[in-house]
Chain length 212, copies 2
Amino acid sequence: MPRTRVHNLFISLDGYAAGDHVALDAPIGDAGRLFAGFDGRFIHGIGGVDAPVTLDRALTSTWAQGVGAEIMGRRKFGPQTGPWTDDGWQGWWDDEPPFHTPVFVMTHHPRPPIEFANGTSFHFVDGSAQEVLTVAQEAAGDLDVRLGGGPSTIRQFLDADLVDVMHVVILPIVLGRGVSPWEGLTGVEDRFTVESVASPSGRIHQFWNRKV
Amino acid sequence: MPRTRVHNLFISLDGYAAGDHVALDAPIGDAGRLFAGFDGRFIHGIGGVDAPVTLDRALTSTWAQGVGAEIMGRRKFGPQTGPWTDDGWQGWWDDEPPFHTPVFVMTHHPRPPIEFANGTSFHFVDGSAQEVLTVAQEAAGDLDVRLGGGPSTIRQFLDADLVDVMHVVILPIVLGRGVSPWEGLTGVEDRFTVESVASPSGRIHQFWNRKV
């Protein structure tokens, strides 16, 4: 049974996983410190990256395993709001978006899909979490769907009880403000088993698995 | 630069990674307890396995990432010793060996290769660790070579300083006897940085990265 998985959800000690004020030069708003020291190359796997294989990197590398589609919120795709304008925007990733699968961008403003030669395609869909998940699952076939964030999108899927697996990374930093995936989800942990492990880097990794 | 990697090297507290007395009904000799609780399905990745994603399983799943060839000792391929006989033996794995790459079996008794429909092929090679590694690297191309064990084979490659990355799993068990990858390698840790992390399961995972 394919699952809906969250990977590399970086959260500060005060519970924020993105900043406010997303802008062209600040893809995660004023919370860039969340990703300080994060070697994003490892989402493609530990093979082919000429750097030590650490716990953090080994766990980061599970991001793509067996994933056939991603769902993301509009703010993960771009900083714009409201109706799309003809600005040529194709996401933050230039010509090489790292997804290599269909990606479903949740927006109230549908538009034609964008396709890249590397297998990534962006599809713009309006609907509830369940509706968008159904579309993504059809695209993923036998593979899992990754819920790529941002935190508001993850919160929406948690609220609808649609998340099966979450890899959370708690960072030893305090942001003071930002966007929290936990807001309004008091007691959500009751629906999961949670395993915690401390990394030598100071990060804490958690594996949330939905109880069956 | 492709690397030579060891994954899921399970070792007892007294340093043994396999048992004596390998036999048809005992692939790792009398040390079967090393793999108790090990869900081998996860070597294929966390996608597609309908079981919780734990730290142990996430780390196990890095086994295949970016690997283009494996090297194994003869005892990992089968219990026989001496010249091969016409017994039809094709390894422990029936029709579905999990490797999906060329596998180089180190033996003083070369024989024709065996090919499987799933992309696995076994090649029987006689030579030093360096010689066999060179052949495996040619087969792997830009990808890494996995050194699949058993412990005597890993020891041979460590002794020749040919191992770049090792994922070691220390189990909270005492075997009393067996085959050790550490024998004769006093101080081998000086050539590596070693990161240790405790799993909630009681296992300890280590990442050995060769110093550059």
